[in-house]
Point group: C2
Chain length 246, copies 2
């Protein structure tokens, strides 16, 4: 049987913990747990714990910790910057990034970005859902949506040592070889992937991207991928050449 895991957005310590209304709804109405049942709670700071359901009221419930399980490994230090497409796709992207492992999810507005009404809280709740289902204890940080130009102009301010991996549909190299070679010269082991919108980047944006000092440009094959596919693809490539799968 699959273990029920609930993300707790407050400190978990040995003893008794109150669940809030939405968590109570989840254990009561979705998972149909009863007093005395065991399940797991977790967060990124306190790890995972086995708990027992002690009280179950309409709006709040209470659990008792039984055992500390600990942490799953934190993913490699990789950020994902992407131009959001559609609501459903953004939900999906947040889930996949969490599953595959990244530290930061950063929606960016580019010149050709169509969909700008991003809710960062929705991205986060999708990331939490993926972490709950996939047995993870780490939740990526969701950055506030920002103009790509602003980010590029201030890249050195955000992190001058971080290498930007730019997935460029106009590029035709072998991405695996490219990533392997950049890995050898990157001392900081801090990375970021940039995925564009449908319609690609403008000339002005390309120019600014090319000005980034620590830059690696890779191809994602001969077929143009939708942005959600490109994110999963590039992150898989990253992890298998540089990140956690090596």
């Amino acid at each position: 049987m699959k273990i029920i895991r609930v993300y707790i957005n407050k400190k978990i310590t040995n003893g008794f913990i109150e669940l809030d209304q939405s968590q109570t709804h989840y254990v009561k109405n979705v998972m149909r747990l009863n007093i005395g049942d065991n399940f797991n709670i977790f967060n990124e700071n306190d790890g995972e714990w086995i708990v027992e359901l002690l009280e179950l009221n309409k709006k709040i419930s209470k659990v008792k910790t039984l055992k500390e399980i600990g942490f799953k490994d934190k993913p490699s230090d990789i950020w994902i910057l992407f131009a959001p497409v559609k609501k459903l796709r953004v939900d999906f992207i947040a889930q996949k990034i969490t599953e595959l492992g990244a530290r930061v999810i950063w929606p960016v507005i580019t010149e050709r970005t169509q969909y700008k009404s991003i809710k960062e809280s929705k991205i986060l709740s999708n990331a939490i859902e993926a972490a709950e289902q996939c047995g993870l204890t780490f939740i990526p940080k969701v950055n506030k949506i920002e103009n790509l130009e602003y980010i590029l102009d201030n890249w050195d301010h955000f992190d001058s040592e971080r290498t930007l991996i730019f997935c460029d549909e106009k590029c035709e190299n072998n991405p695996k070889k490219q990533l392997e070679s950049i890995k050898k010269i990157n001392k900081s082991n801090k990375w970021a992937i940039l995925i564009g919108p449908e319609g690609g980047f403008s000339d002005k944006e390309r120019e600014k991207i090319n000005r980034i000092k620590n830059l690696s440009i890779i191809s994602l094959g001969p077929r143009i991928l939708r942005s959600d596919t490109a994110i999963v693809s590039s992150l898989s490539l990253f992890h298998s050449t540089i990140g956690d799968w090596v």
Copy 2:
């Protein structure tokens, strides 16, 4: 502006072509084209053509070919065998496989497969939609859903030279290195990826998989991926080490 592309499931030759009811509905009501407008039609046998809309009736319409554009490259000879999870996920999987490039999509029933009411026609229509949107002319073949045990027992009968890449969550190797080494010894350059259901494979299934002569077992990292993520990840890894992205 994005080019409108319509898949035509009959022979395309220079001259006049009738569109059926669903294609007519698409150009008329979805894309809102008018008499005289140009768009593209394609299929895997006759490639892509620019056409002009000549007649537009309630149920059928007629186009005239203007120019033959030709074919996009056929993807590498890779099949994807996967245990379907949920309806929406299967739709998504069909789209992603087509985008990333594969020859055959093969849903398989394993011991722990929950979702068995697969419609192969639905998989195909999702593959066609992805090909239309991503500028491809190749549509993967969709095999009839089949028991995994039957496939494994008859693997040599289906294709004795084809190497099966088994994505095993219990495996801990470096998938990139593993694929690179198997590439050197595979003479036929024919491949298949096998992705399991949530819950994994049974011992009996594992035993049968291990009996396949041309077998490569790879890890997809330290985090357990959902099956749709695993398909996109493994196919990206394949293409970047063995397939079309090399």
